[in-house]
Every structure is written in C-alpha cells, then in structure tokens.
Amino acid sequence: MKKLLLVLLVLIVVLPLAACQGEPAEVAEEVEEVAEEVGEEAEEVAEEVAEEVEEVVEEEVEDLEPIVIGSIQDLSGPASIPGQANAWGAEYAVQVINENGGINGRMLEIITLDCKNDLNEGINAYRKLVDEHEVTAIIGPPLSNPASGWVELSEEDQVPIVGHFMDEVCTTDPDTGEAYPYMFLAEPSCSSQSFAIAKFAMEELGLTKFATLYNTGNAFAVAHAKPFMEYVVDNGGEVVGEETFTWADTDYSAQALKIVQAAPEAVFLSDYVNQAALAYDFLRDAGYEGVILGANTLALPFPDLVKNEVYDLYYLQNYDMLNPEAGGYELFTTHMEDVGTDYPKSNAGFGWDAVQVLVAAMRKAEDPTNGPELRDLLEQTDGVELAERTITIDPATHRPSNMGMYIADYDENMQIRILTYIEP
C-alpha cells in the first residue's frame, strides 16, 4: 500500500513536469531527486518509474506541438447571434476532443477571429490565420458572405475550410458546377434545405400553389427562395407569386397584398428572423390565412416576435434539439447553460459538427497538418459521427449527401414540435 502511494505521489509530481515540456533527461533526474527525498526504500520504484517516464516523454516530445486550427466567426456585426453560438460550438468541440486525448495524442488548438459578416474583415482574418498563425485548417462562419472571399485563396494556400456557408456558390463554382477543392460544407446546403420543405409541403400537405416572399439583399434568403421555386416547378407545382423586399424596406404590405390576390396555398418566407417575423405579420394582417413555410431562421424566438397568432406555420430545423433521446441534447443544453440563453441554437451544433468532420479527417491522416492530404481525406468523409447523425460528403460537390432536415411547427404553448424528418 505504501509503495503504491509512493508511486502515485511520484507520478503526480512528474506528470506536470513532463507536461511542461522539460527535456526527458531532466525530468528523469528530477524524478530521481524527488524519489531520494521521499525515502531510500522508494529508490528502486523511482528508478523504474523514471525509465518509464523517459520513454513516454520521449514519445510525446515528438508530437507535443499542438495542431493549430482557425475559426472565423461573426462574433460581432449583424450575424453575431448565430456567429457566437457557432464559435462556442467549435471551441467546445475542441475542448471535448482534447479532454479525450486529442488527435492520436496530439492536442488541438483553436484560434477564433471575428469577421463581422464583412468580406474585407473576413479576408483579413483568413490571411492572419494562414500567414501569422500558420493554421492547418479553418472552421468557417455560419453565413456565406465572408466565406465567398476564400474560395480561391484556400486553394492557393492549400488550407481546407469546413464550415456552414450554406450557399452553393461557396462550395461549387456556379459556372462549371465543379467543387472548389478546399471548401467543405458540413450541413445541408440552402437548396437541399429548400427542397426538404418544398417536398414536405407538396407530399405531406398536398399543396401545389405556392408564393415566395424574400429579401433580395440577403444572400441567405435568395439562395433559399430560388431552389424552392425550382423544386416546386419541377415537381408539377405552380408558383403564383414571387415577391421581394430589400434591407432598406420596412413595410411589406404591398407585397403581402399582392400575395393575397394571387391566392397561393402556401407562402415560403426566407430571411433572417426579424424580417421573417415582419413578413409573417404583414401577410396575416393582409388577410392571408393559408400555410406559411419558413427556413431554419424561424426557430425560437420567432413566436415572440410576431404579433399575430402563429398557426399553419412549418419550418426547417437542423436538429431535434430539445429531445433528450436525440444525440445532440447534451450539447445544446450545455450551450444554453453555458451562455445563459433561453433558446436552443442550432448554430452551437454547426460549430461542433464542423470540428468533428475536420477531426475525423485528421485522425486518418498520416500528417494531420498536411493541407492537401486533409483535403483528400475530407473529400472521402463517410459516416462521420456528428452531434446528431452522421455525415457523408459528396466528393463532387463537397456538400453532405446524406443529411436531411426536420420539419417543425409550434404547439399551442409555442414550443418547437418536430413533425417529421425529410430524407435528402
């Protein structure tokens, strides 16, 4: 018993020393010294331990340098609400991975920079990470605007970027349809999300006459609305109204009136939550009583923002966040506790997921800091475990091929109710 205690004591003293990146020989010496102090009888044990430590430490020293990855997020600016949750998710994922032994023993280090949802800032942040911090890979922002500046830079610098820039133009060349080699998307793209809600509306609700109301000034909104209309037309439906507004507008009553006149069975709203809430109210105020469909921005606190009753509203959800059975429950509740927010935010899951995709590729890599190798491995991402499901990336588009979306609505207490899962 005494001997065991002694060994423990020695280990407790030694391990932090080893962690302090001391030279292996020095550490061993120190261990011997400590052992001497402890007592003669421990000498034998100490020598044994010292030898072992020397071996372990030698092995670790080779790889002690952590792998540095960057994270560029909208910490401030108009998209800071999703951006901060995203940053949290990525940092939390790195923390958990490090607690579980890192990547094949190597630790991860994540450096988060702010891009303010601004192209210029995004490029500065990117350059700083790549040139000054020499990061191996980058976790991208939840919005596409800053990311669109990196599509060519990442190829030139051979730095893979995994993120949530949902617009297709961030992952594939709009002219040729080819994937940008170093850009990877870790959530369903705008169009696959729009397809999901359109499919739901047409197949499950049996609707055929649609209208859209979206913000032409917002890439997110446009990238949702266009594929939605495409899907409807391709599948035998009809688009009876396409109404738009811009950032400068605050009154959509003329658009709402026009939609009411066109008498669609469902209206698809796509924009950020503030404008979506406004659009919802204008539609209802104009006397529209049909179904309203929405993008994943219509999650909580949407019902608090609208002044009309919320009914016949169906919208997209990436995760079944508040279901204790679902895989992401712990993650989302941790986030809510950690940041002190009342609403679960899918973006915490996005940050987490992006890191998982990247780390899975790093684990398989011979040299996890080699950009081209990582890129090739990322392209082969197959069945990587995420917060809730697994992801397989299509090498042709660099977007997930197996991820579907939930369709949700609000119950009478204005709580999210997951209705169904739409396969891609």
């Binding site: 350059r127 040139d131 500046g149 599509v151 060519e152 002219d175 032409t216 000034g217």
Partner: protein
C-alpha cells in the same frame, strides 16, 4: 512579407485613396457626399461583369467603368450642385441606395446579394495599388496647390464671396466631384481584385461615412492629415484584435471609439488633428532645426 501583410497594405492603400479623393471633394470644395462607396461599387461591378460577359480583358473594362462613373457623377452633379449642400449630401445617400438596388435588380449579371466571385488573381496588385496611391496623392497635392485648389478653398469658405471674384462655383464643383468619383471607382476595382469577390454589402453608406470620418479626424485642410488618419484608423483595429474590454473584443468597440474621438475632435479641435499643417520636407526640416537648437541650448546650459 507575408500575404497577410501585403493584403493589409493593399487594403490600406485603397482606404487612403478613397479618403484622399474625399479630401479633394469635402476638404477642398466643401461638398459632403455619403455616396462615394457607390462609385466603388460601380467601378468593381462594371469592370468585372463586363469583362466576364463580353470577354474583354479587365484593364480595358476598368477604364470603361471609370468612364461610366464619370458619366454617372456628372448626371448626379448637374441638378444637385446648383442647390445647397444639404440637398447634395442627401442625394448622394439616395444614389448609393439606388446603385445597390440596381446590383440586386440585375442579379443575372451581378449575382445579386450572393456576390460576384472568381475575379482573376493579379500578381502585382501590391505594386499597382502603391503606384496608384502615389499617383493619386501626387494629383491631389498638385490640385491643392493649383488655381483650382485655391478656388475650391475659397468656395468652401464662402460661395458668395467666391462668386464675387468671378469663380464659377457650380462648374468647379462638378469637376471636383467627377474627379473624386473617378478615383473612388478606381479604388473599387482594386478592392475587387484584393477580395476576389464583390458583394453589395461592401459598399453601403457606412463605408462612405467612414471615409468622411477619417478625413475630419485628420483635418479637412490637411492632405497629410487625411492620409495619416486614414492609414492609422484603418490599421488600428487589426492591432486590437486580441484586446478585450468588459469581456467584449476591442474590435467591437472600434466604431464607438471612432465616433467618440470625432465628437471630441469637433468640439475641441474642429480643424482636425493636424489642422492646416502639411507634413512635408520643409516642416520636417523646421522640426529638425528646432530639435537641434533645443539640444544646443541644453548643451550651452551645461557649459
């Protein structure tokens, strides 16, 4: 030099370029415009959209885009510069909104809010920006010390007095505004080349307002003041990236800090930090002489 540093230098050259152009317009001629970023958008979009769809090399379409900016600014200037300054300032705000609306409207060509990407890489962008910047500073400096510069300062001070010396205030203002807009559109082309993608959000009125703020901080009557404050204030946030205050990154406060600085400057030193001073060789020589004298004096007192 790392690509990060060259990228920053290019960005700062672009900022200084635009502020120097605003110096000619606001500092010399007293026209307050909040639409200069719109001309950057015109430069960027026209150059690369034309280049892509007409298959013309972008240096040629670049020249076309500058010509279009000149035409546009002339159209804006003719009805508004006859009126008081307030009208002009308001019209420029409206103009910048209109340009952004047009970008969205022609989304088949501009790709709207999603952004126009795949702008070709320019290898010697750093050199081009620095040479461009040097040329523009040279121009505006010459402008300031020419008859046009003097007339501008006169009309900024007092339009009626300026007219009584036979100065054709209206046409002079048009000339300067067109010049400033042409420079802005050139800066827009460089910005597109640096970012490799153009989005309408990069050209909002906040960008135009930033140019004015940089100018007034340095001093409306000092070209070197404008240059130094534009460079300094633009660079500052890059250095405070990692500094935090009350748990919020200093970067978030940067605009608040600018605004407070400006309020203090206008209240207590309305002529700007440098006032009317220009930092040039003569000024430096004087400084050196004074410095030497004070050292000599000190030495004497030791003797």
């Amino acid at each position: 030099m790392s690509a990060y540093q060259t990228g920053l230098i290019v960005q700062i050259s672009i900022t200084i370029m635009t502020v120097v152009a605003v110096f000619a317009m606001t500092g010399l001629a007293g026209m307050f415009s909040l639409g200069q970023a719109a001309y950057m958008a015109v430069g960027a979009y026209v150059t690369f959209v034309l280049s892509r769809f007409l298959d013309i090399p972008y240096p040629i379409t670049g020249i076309i885009s500058i010509l279009i900016s000149i035409l546009l600014s002339w159209i804006i200037a003719v009805p508004t510069l006859k009126l008081r300054r307030d009208y002009f300032a308001l019209i420029t705000v409206g103009f910048s909104q209109m340009i952004l609306a047009l970008v969205l409207l022609f989304e088949d060509f501009t790709r709207g809010s999603i952004g126009f990407s795949k702008i070709p890489r320019m290898d010697n962008l750093l050199l081009v920006s620095l040479v461009g910047l040097a040329l523009i500073i040279f121009w505006i400096r010459n402008l300031k010390y020419s008859r046009f510069g003097r007339m501008c300062i006169a009309l900024k001070n007092d339009e009626i007095a300026a007219r009584s010396f036979g100065i054709d205030v209206y046409h002079l203002k048009i000339k300067i505004y067109v010049l400033a807009s042409a420079i802005a559109s050139f800066a827009g082309i460089l910005m597109a080349l640096r970012n490799r993608v153009i989005t309408p959000d990069s050209f909002g009125w906040a960008q135009s307002a930033e140019m004015q703020i940089f100018l007034f901080f340095g001093g409306t009557n000092s070209l070197t003041g404008a240059i130094l404050s534009a460079g300094g204030l633009k660079l500052l946030p890059e250095f405070v990236r990692d500094v935090t205050l009350f748990g919020v990154s200093m970067q978030e406060y940067r605009t608040i800090i600018y605004a407070i600085l400006i309020i203090i400057v206008i209240n207590f030193r309305p002529q700007g930090i440098l006032g009317e001073k220009e930092i040039n060789f003569k000024w430096l020589k004087n400084l050196y002489r004074r410095f030497k004298q004070s050292i000599l004096k000190k030495n004497e007192s030791y003797d």
